[in-house]
Symmetry: C2
Subunit: 363 residues, 2 copies
């Protein structure tokens, strides 16, 4: 089908275009570059749903005044190793990196730093933040809540976001272990892809509007919901649900943001919740100093050993054996830096439309 065809762009073309679009919408240059960098990171790492594919939503939300292009990001409260940050309804792509820096700076002084953020918006890929921490020999954590998409186990409606958890550990000779996982069974994008292709989805991905497990992607989209990681009670669906609550508590409730079904949408096509229980959505960042626990070099050498031991696991039949978290994204990045980023035609169409509306050349 037409929309699975792709056109390939050099990452710097996409970065430049995003930056100029943000500036056009009133975002200060340095913030625009920061925001574009988070998007570029997603496009490079193969997380297509979180890169320039989202520029359309940011464009819409900024154009309509639903996101503040020039936020005054404030520290609301703090201790030696914790803080609450108010993002003043700025782009999550700008608020997130700043809050993450606060966590990292605290870690360098106090051993660890933990920042809960309210009044913010979609922050891109969670892995971006933990990769920043690696640059400073810190173990970084990033979480965020988001618009409702996922049913609690035994629920028949959307109540939780896909609420990702990211954390990374540096190796010495080996590349880092980079974990970045949503707490639902599968990404919403996979439901949409099956729908476009007219294929059914596996049992365990989603429910229909009545709350019954379905293999029809249309039923998930039309009033259904994603299922939490673990899918059903028998296979641990209560665990994915619990992890989604954990992320929501740390990101949303602890900071004073909205939580659960009240998290505001990141795109115009989503409905606005009927109730507000806080400000914007919430993020949670953590950073811990490795040398607060053990000598950095010996830690990294153990991580190398760990990676090698796990790569040497006896493979399950029909597989290449276990991957290390972060492998697929790193491979995507190597390939895309060389050969460019493929964008499906509907996304190219969105970007051309933004180009037409702003006068910023594209393509």
């Amino acid at each position: 089908m037409a929309d699975t065809e792709a056109k390939v762009f050099h990452i710097e073309i996409l970065r430049e275009f995003s930056t100029r679009v943000f500036v056009h919408l009133g975002v200060p240059k340095s913030d625009a570059m920061q925001a574009a960098d988070v998007l570029a990171s997603a496009d490079l790492r193969g997380v297509d749903s979180h890169g320039v594919a989202r520029l359309r939503s940011y464009f819409d939300m900024l154009s309509m005044g639903r996101i503040n292009p020039q936020p005054t990001i404030e520290l609301v409260s703090s201790t030696l190793s914790t803080a609450t940050v108010d993002g003043d309804n700025g782009l999550g792509l700008v608020v997130g990196p700043q809050a993450n820096r606060i966590a990292m700076d605290m870690a360098e002084k106090a051993g660890s730093g933990w920042v809960s953020v309210r009044n913010t918006n979609h922050f891109g890929i969670a892995a971006y933040y933990v990769l920043e921490a690696l640059e400073r020999d810190l173990i970084g954590w990033a979480m965020t809540n988001s618009t409702k998409m996922v049913a609690p186990l035994w629920g028949a409606e959307r109540m939780l976001g896909t609420n990702p958890i990211s954390i990374a550990f540096p190796g010495k000779e080996e590349p880092p272990i980079v974990i970045d996982i949503a707490t639902c069974a599968v990404a919403y994008g996979k439901i949409e892809m099956a729908r476009r292709k007219g294929e059914s989805i596996p049992s365990g991905w989603g429910i229909d509007s009545a709350g019954l497990v379905t293999t029809d992607p249309d039923a998930v989209v039309a009033g259904g919901a994603l299922l939490p990681l673990g899918s059903d009670r028998e296979r641990g669906g209560h665990k994915g649900y619990a992890l989604a609550i954990m992320v929501d508590m740390l990101s949303g409730v602890l900071s004073g943001a909205n939580w659960g079904p009240f998290a505001p949408p990141f795109a115009l096509r989503h409905e606005i919740p009927t109730r507000s229980v806080g400000k914007g959505i919430g993020h949670f960042f953590g950073a811990i100093r490795i040398d607060g626990f053990r000598e950095v070099d010996s830690f990294k050498r153990q991580v190398d050993d760990y990676i090698r031991v796990f790569r040497a696991t006896k493979p399950a039949p029909g597989t290449t054996g276990p991957l290390i978290p972060g492998d697929p994204e790193r491979q995507a990045e190597q390939l895309r830096r060389e050969r460019g980023v493929p964008l499906i035609l509907p996304i190219v169409g969105d970007l051309r439309d933004i180009s037409a509306k702003t006068g910023i050349p594209f393509d």
Copy 2:
């Protein structure tokens, strides 16, 4: 079958017996009481596999000198908000609570406290530690690595423990949200139970010794492995695998304990790993002060609201609607405090055997 019959004991009988057994084995009285308290907490909360059912293993390991009854628990390194603790090969039931107190004390001074522990042993239920934190208006985290039981996704052998994650959030009028989840699809105990009953297990719980998904519990026990949360690639098995690595890194690698397939066993029936990469197993405790982020009372009222909103979720057909994490354990505790703790006959037999060997009366 005989071993699904149960005999009921008052919790104080079990607590007293455990305490006296630990003392008999050379554990100082206050440590013995502490250890028995962790076991009693599991028995009350319905986590039968982690209560006095484990006393036999602790008895064996202490009797054979594989656990140190009188450890000198030491702070190896620290910053304002982080520390590494060496448990001197003591009971995890003693080392864990002490390390957790260090984390909580640090949190009260520095806003948060994070303690990675090496040279320790099985610490009981993870929820015990985060419930302690709730008493001090802290959000507590507890993790531990453990003997290999779980295959990495696409692996055909045991490489990881069941590596649980626990965290709790206090309500004001509502009971707390208490999350305590293993990062595998199902507890090993459920495989054993199916085996005793001669029943098959659902697809997604485990693999056989060739690495193929099996519904035969004997095949999992005989050289097979549990599967990570998510079970297979399609349903997010790479996510459960990644979470197990996260726990292993924070508990094992960061502290200098053994990790992955090298984590030593907690019972004589498990093989001793061929390689040692650190000391004992590892735990990880965290504590954060709620009032470092927002006023405690307003946080608790939001948690109440959260719980009520989630309880009001439209139920999936054939269910009572979503539970709140911690509900089943709290209900078990209410029931068991009133009516006693049911123990299956093989466990009663183990305790009688310990009684015969030690002269400590039981029953």
